[in-house]
Symmetry: D2
Subunit: 469 residues, 4 copies
């Protein structure tokens, strides 16, 4: 299973590789496990990937080893498979049409089935990443003979996917028909076209945001300019923009799904204060993700915004470490309570979301140990009760604290004096698109596509698998 990641692409700039490096750096919060860039000057594609942070993977030597005016890059958040170089993206292949590199953000729910079908007809796979199946589909002669092979490939994919493909002569950006994950288009002063998961990457390199890649859109960038075409048919006005991008995943400075993440979070904080006020001396965020929501809460309720922790700038976000033991180390090495600021205070603690509850509990415990008099926890998202099949790396369902516990039981587990979550409707009132355009399945269990037996169903419905029989 492929999880949420970062994509960056640029076409038509002499510094394509170093700008990709900076762009990936700006999106580092979306993935810390591996990073990679494939570039080309219009001929051969060259690839450099590795495990670790962008700045660890790319030293001067590695950046100098790849050249070109076109490049795509990728940061990987995590994989359920083993963490090896072989799975680091972008993947690079050659086929009858030449070379192609691929970077993927999202999760294909029918990729394993497709892979199995391809294996049955004699195809071989190098990576353990299911993403590889997209290139097998693309290389299929029946697809290659079509006017738009990619349209036919995409009809086979089910799930969440933003894709960047790089050929020697063109870069292609794709967003799935329901638009689960964000993907933005922009340009540089010299006319270079840029693509990124979030606009923060544009800010870093001085690019201008133009618009989102639309759900169900294929954007082809070449020397001939930017072309757009549609695929995937009519979704009946439905969409599946991941609300968790707004709540937790994206950077507050980014535009995501057309609106600023910080403002959405601050609004959620305000809405939470309206729905669930609390009495106290200080409103403090669990740093640093809940800062936005906490400013909104504090502003709405009129209680001073304060600070209860300091953070170390030298280690990564706890949420995106791969194993439990790493997560424990990360918590300990990231936050330190300001005891004197907390002692004897009635704290209103704002959190953006509670997943397992274990790290929240640890932080609350630290506040309590430092002498907080009262702790009222307010969470700017509803209880998470359902798994995500579309790219967010939640733990298994029975590790989700809200799956097996009532709010009162969670309050007791977290050892807070009171606990309130924002309502589902309240949350949706803070974003600009209508509710049917969002996926809120992790809260509601209403999945935008069937995931019960996702692959078989898909195969039967669309009848596209006869190619394999």
């Amino acid at each position: 299973m492929q999880h949420n990641c970062a994509l960056f692409g640029i076409f038509g700039h002499d510094d394509a590789v170093s700008l990709s490096h900076l762009g990936l750096y700006a999106l580092q919060h979306r993935g810390q496990e591996s990073a990679g860039i494939v570039s080309t000057s219009g001929e051969r594609l060259e690839r450099q990937v590795g495990l670790g942070l962008v700045n660890q993977v790319f030293n001067k030597r590695k950046l100098a080893a790849i050249r070109g005016t076109r490049a795509i890059g990728h940061c990987r958040y995590s994989t359920s498979g083993s963490c090896t170089d072989a799975n680091a993206q972008p993947l690079l292949f050659s086929f009858a049409g030449g070379q192609v590199a691929l970077a993927h953000n999202g999760n294909l729910i029918n990729a394993s089935l497709l892979r199995r079908k391809y294996e049955e007809v004699g195809h071989i796979f190098q990576s353990t990443s299911d993403t590889e199946v997209i290139i097998h589909l693309l290389a299929k002669p029946a697809h290659q003979q079509k006017k738009f092979p990619l349209n036919h490939v995409l009809n086979h994919l089910q799930g969440a996917y933003c894709l960047l493909l790089l050929f020697s002569d063109r870069m292609i950006a794709v967003r799935d028909p329901l638009g689960f994950r964000p993907l933005c288009l922009g340009h540089m002063d010299n006319g270079a076209v840029v693509v990124a998961s979030e606009t923060k990457a544009f800010d870093m390199i001085g690019a201008t945001y133009d618009r989102d890649v639309e759900p169900g859109e294929i954007v082809t960038i070449s020397d001939a300019g930017v072309e757009s075409r549609r695929f995937g048919g009519d979704m009946g006005g439905r969409g599946a923009a991941c609300i968790f991008e707004q709540i937790y995943f994206a950077d507050p400075s980014s535009l995501v799904f057309g609106e600023n993440v910080h403002l959405v979070r601050a609004k959620m904080g305000q809405q939470l204060a309206i729905e669930s006020p609390a009495e106290g001396d200080l409103v403090v965020p669990i740093p640093t993700c809940a800062t936005c929501a906490a400013t909104g809460y504090a502003k709405q309720i009129g209680i001073p915004y304060g600070r209860a922790f300091t953070t170390s700038h030298y280690a990564g976000r706890s949420f995106i470490m791969p194993t439990q033991s790493d997560r424990d180390i990360a918590v300990r090495m990231k936050l330190n309570v300001i005891k004197e600021a907390v002692k004897g205070q009635r704290l209103i603690v704002v959190e953006d979301s509670v997943v397992r509850g274990t790290t929240t509990r640890a932080k609350i415990g630290a506040l309590r140990k430092a002498g907080a008099k009262e702790i009222h926890l307010r969470v700017a998202s509803p209880p998470i009760r359902h798994p995500c099949y579309f790219g967010i790396d939640f733990p298994t369902q029975n590790e989700l604290i809200a799956n097996t516990r009532t709010v009162d039981e969670i309050r007791d587990f977290l050892e807070v004096d009171s606990l309130q979550y924002i309502s589902h409707e309240g949350m949706l009132s803070c974003v600009q698109m209508p509710p049917e355009k969002y996926c809120t399945a992790c809260f509601s269990g209403n999945y935008p596509m069937s995931v019960d037996e996702p692959v078989e169903k898909f195969a039967m419905e669309h009848g596209q698998m006869q190619m394999f029989t």
Copy 2:
């Protein structure tokens, strides 16, 4: 010249090396250029040092290469000399008394003179660090024959110094008579004694803070327990605790000079609001150092605390990069404006201090470019007009923006609508010790000791240099 650094020491713990590693990690904000640990089991001293962050210098192999139940560690902020391994501390020497390791935080204003004098009588130096001279003094037979050689050594030193010395059988912590830099004593549950520049290191390893090492105190830790003795004579009630530790350098969660840094900074923000209120829609800090002061300002004035920037967690603090070019990169890679949060707003921007003004100007410019309607800058420390000779790495005096410009000229340079600094008295009203206990020379020019011709004067005054003639 030696700049502000971090010290950590532990005596009597099986995990002395790994705890030192964690302790230094917790103090990483005090120095990012080099890191090192010297340890011993009571016999031979072993040393591992390197350039870079604590987590870069110490991998598993390096940590496994040194063992022991006693260890001292050091992070270096910067040096005016070349940045080489040879200067990384702790330094390790052998002399007639055996082996000794030394770590130093501060700056000795007469070290160059002492070094020159020693060179004149035939001594040789390996590092370009003046710190080495302390061991030459210590090894002097005339000093070694005294009951307390170190007391005699320290009488020769002029300037700011916290020292940690490790011998095979004891660890010694020293703080200069005026107490420029902080140094704290604590203990672990197993009875191990710990020493650190800031209490944040104690929090990281689960140690308990006991007290500060006093100005003019030598604390000797051995199997016989903890012994204290005094040196340096009567200072007449004066002290020189560096107020800039409270304003900028130390971590907000630490106790420094006996009080919590965050609370001091928040009080300074409140005092600044009392002295210099402003009208606006949002109070926003320049992240992340000014967060504490901004919460105090917002609370006092009753205007919502907001957020104007996001930060990247993957690069270091701009202030502590060694060269101008690195500082520029660091700014660009660290902060991103949240344009939508700023557009059309009247911002009250809180900054902890303005040194050169160039990065502040860059950040203000970014806010302006994002569409801020008004920008009122409030600085929670007075104008910095004078160099520091005691460990803070300010630029040369005419690079200090307040040295050559009036407040109005600075306002124009920074392109803000209004600018106010906290008053000198206001600042001192926010800390608990009486004013004569602090060094505020960077603001006032009143140095706690003569620095005009510091070395010659010292030599004549004390008459201690005849040893060399």
Copy 3:
């Protein structure tokens, strides 16, 4: 194009990985560009590869990362493609039959055609190595349904190939029907079965040589024991054992094609002395490859064997550096003339082979400059006039000095007083199999299979390509 390489495999030993490491180290002379091992405990296959020498690629961490009781390894000599990790062998794939790893020594002359055909029907390739096509053939459902899929795969391959395949439950060793390259079978005391390109690897790990894998034999090693089957049909008594393995490539201590390499070379030196005696004071080898032949020459002719050069043990064999510039450096850094041993002497210099002539010329020049009175060059192989399509990395044909020059012209080019090569018949009289069992094409131009338009011809002759039409 794939060049001469080393293979090593072991089945049924707890130290399979570290024994593979040692085995590859012993075969390092066959390939210095990359090294790799794939191992398994009977379940998942794990892979570690890298660029460089065996001892550079495999540190403790890398060796510890792969485990198992079965392993195959590979050292690569050179590739015509780019030198990247992606091409390092063994390659590892998954397909409908599970995981499979492949290591290849030799060169498939129809691999490019096969690859193109597969690409045309929609297959994708990850490496630029043509070896990958073997797994595409293997994964073909029509092949998988056969009782012995591999037999059908091998019928498609034209050229020189020794293969090692590792599945979770078995290891398979294959040698092509003409037996171009050597491949040996042996066993350990514990019953483990070992396979290696040369018996030197068995000596290193204490294994016993049993026999060669026969041309046209597939040996399958599993828990059920060792099975042998044949493929490829009747060759009419012909073979194509590469005589250049005996002359230059293999280690003198190895058995190759059933006889000891040193003894073959010494016999060639003797035969050369019989055919082309010379007068002189000393018989000296061009170190170190010609040592064997020189001892034979000296013994036969009764002139003292001497030494004219010393060698540096810290750099690799010049012949196997990838680029011309590296080859130049290697020459300069590898040999030093013993001037005093050479001055005024009449030297009979023995060389094993002369390819380009440039390095021989450099060495002869050094002898001349050191004052040699006469230099008579004797070469223990015939003039090399034709390219090798089966794994020896000769330069292009017109770089071969004997391709465009007569022996007299070569003598003048090399600036020697006399020059004689061994005769073709003389050479063949020194090896034990009958002449029709050897490939001597580089000397004679008589290729054991058509290589004019090798791929098209093959496709038509055998009619096996209709699968692709």
Copy 4:
């Protein structure tokens, strides 16, 4: 204790650093534990050192980090102390006279005493290398005030030493009054002056050998040219050129003590054959050190020279690995018996020297196991019975096989059919200087200076230690 090492220096060449790199590479056989270069353009001295082989220590980045037209370099063989960067030479210091770098080959038998005396008067040491004491002597004001401070320094040193010193404005080469270790002077075509332990380094960089630095000579190279002066007084015609340099340590292509090493060894082989002929089929060397002697032996006796082993070019000489376990690995990874060449043969095995006997026994055992019919061992040096105090890293005396065993007992231990050593007189008849010019103490026990209580004695004799009282 400092052991035999390599020195290289160059003054007056734009490529001083890279030529030093090449020069050290050529002398790699003299030391594999660490390597270092200090260079200067006439101002600041810059240093790069590290553990490992020359090619491991110096990558492009490290070579680029030091510049200059003058450089000295050093390879260290081994130290009895811990193997750390801190001891890697050249050492670099600053003192009243500026900066100075020092590289030392040999062993000072009174260095520990001198160090202790200096420590007693308050000097401190950074390295555990006794070499550092030379700079303490040099920095002494009483010495600095003399016209030739170095002459006075050298009068304090007892033992074997070749020194290279680099100051910003001059390079100084020194050889001790008895001339234990070799040191050669030469020049480049551009006039640059070069110094090296052996002439092989000159061959590598294209320099011309001029003459040896004489025993008791100080050669100063500066922009003013080359100056020579003497020190140490009259030795009464005695010398102490280390005969073991000729037998084992130096490269056969080098001039050492004015004559070629290979020719000396070949003569020793001839002499050995005259003294101790044997009957057999083949004369084979223990590779690769005994090759020279074996050619002499074979020539003299008229039995064919043969080959019994192949060697791997990818690991170092067994003799210079620091620990027993490394030595064992090295043997196994370096040599492989050519079984077919040995089986049924009567071998006359020539060895250059037998120290412990363990590796010789292992090699003989391998020959026996391979089926040798008879093995007659002939050793081209006398039995080693005494320790070396002057730079050769022999094991402790009772590990020397000839110290506790008769020749017959050694024969039995080594399991050879016969064993003969060259005679002491025979050995000395093969070198050109008269016997009194050589140190043969390891064979004879006649040390060229008293080593019973070397340091105290020295101190009393010369009365130079009152400086410390």
